[in-house]
Amino acid sequence: MIRFILIQNRAGKTRLAKWYMHFDDDEKQKLIEEVHACVTVRDAKHTNFVEFRNFKIVYRRYAGLYFCICVDISDNNLYYLEAIHNFVEVLNEYFHNVCELDLVFNFYKVYSVVDEMFLAGEIRETSQTKVLKQLLMLTSLE
């Protein structure tokens, strides 16, 4: 299962943190710093997977943002790697060529996108068409 999802920029600022298991606020801060240290030191010669505590992180960099999903060791790496990409394509469509600032100013909407596609630490919906249709409908509501 997914333990947490993080979107961070290269400087270490968190643009989204979604937690699927309990951590105290201090623990969360520490994890965020560790993840940042862990992924920013990697480059093209490395895999998109890295052992992290007793989990692993599947991640991909898009422009200045690192999208990290922390999952169990026994989970399928490519499954989550493409789940990230699927999610990014939805964000891109929803925000019309998404950029980091979109995630800042519309932070509360990013959670809606996440909850459409992921829930309870599992993948909930994978059809971009369905997700975008639902999000568009929700955007029209008062």
């Binding site: 895999t47 490519l78 829930l119 309870a120 599992e122």
Partner: protein, 498 residues
Amino acid sequence: MPAVKGDGMRGLAVFISDIRNCKSKEAELKRINKELANIRSKFKGDKTLDGYQKKKYVCKLLFIFLLGHDIDFGHMEAVNLLSSNKYTEKQIGYLFISVLINLNSELIKLIIQSIKNDLQSRNPVHVNLALQCIANIGSKDMCEAFNTDLPKLLVSGDTIDFVKQSAALCLLKLFRTSQDVLPPGEYASRIVHLLNDQHMGVVTAACSLIEALSKRWPEDYKGCVSLAISRLSRIVTATYTDLQDYTYYFVPAPWLSVKLLRLLQNYQPPEDPANKSRLLECLEGILNKAQEAPKSKKVQHSNAKNAVLFEAIALIIHMDSEPALLVRACNQLGAFLAHRETNLRYLALESMCLLATSEFSHEAVKKHQETIINSLKTERDVSVRQRAVDLLYAMCDRSNAAEIVSEMLIYLETADYSIREEMVLKVAILAEKYATDYTWYVDVILKLIRIAGDYVSEEVWYRVIQIVVNREDVQGYAAKTVFEALQVHIYCHLQHTS
């Protein structure tokens, strides 16, 4: 400033801009405190705030919290937002409490009551918000409050698709919190039947729930096996026009396929011939697709296809009953060992490690020895080299032990300090297990000590002594060799100090 969508909340956008324009941490803190004071006074004020304003201020508080500052008020107002009829106001209310929930708070009862109300709403969007909130929090209190209503909601014919999806995963969260939430009896067969739902999203969500429940109650949920196989079969043989919404870069329902393959690993291979042959056809189909020319050059296509392939191989390994498939899997992985993508080389090495332990595929794995040893020497990502080490260890037997141990010793000389202890242990185990000539064993251990002495744990060298003490035939050799090694060591030491 990027355009804010829909409802705007202009005040929020301005505040965020102000924060971003602050030139220092002090300026930022000042601006935040000013806003906190403002919000505090608005919340305490005589004028009752309308829904829009409450939403805006609660959202500002949430933003401030996410920046890293403590928020000790606003929870009541957030809970109030839950009773609004407006989606945008409810959404912010639920978001605030999901992020800032304090499970011991007095407000929990109010929150649960609000959720109960929304679960009974005629508006499925509101029901969905409530379900997402339960799934995000999933406390013990919530387990007690919702364990009777949720299963009913999940299996009812009146429940709309997207609500079912959320209900399934919501139940999964509660089940993980407290396993008594969903005793199998009443609901098992109806939950299993969700695998036949015409909405693929419902199947996707239900699959995760069933995977967890079937681990706990395999007998009660075993009906899922034939449904999962038939579902998988339909996906694997689908053309991409069949599954339009669920085709990703020309791969039909890759995530659902992986989930189904994962579910099947909770059970032994099916015994009845119909299911068995259908499953084997699926697995063969997946292996065939890996050999076909790719429909797209994009890495997303290959990753999605390979995600399914690797899970299929995991199932084949789990079944451990089809030699032909195991050998085919091994050959496919062998081809990946030299792939230009590091991800695939890594995953192939990892997967082959499991194949190496199966008697049906052990020999097939050994054929790739040279390539694997080459990986050990040339891979630039240390984690890939580590997988190569693990694989060499798993595939080691009497026929190749000498060569493998020798290569591992060479690797050890320049290995990362963080992995040395594990490597030393592996070499020591292999040397003992496959030694036919105990002089070889002594040589290996001596080399081990010379190269990575600091990482040779007590267990290892106690064992060496035990073996030498118990084998008269090697004692002479051992004594002589160690003596000579010490002489060299002392000589070197003298050289350095003179």
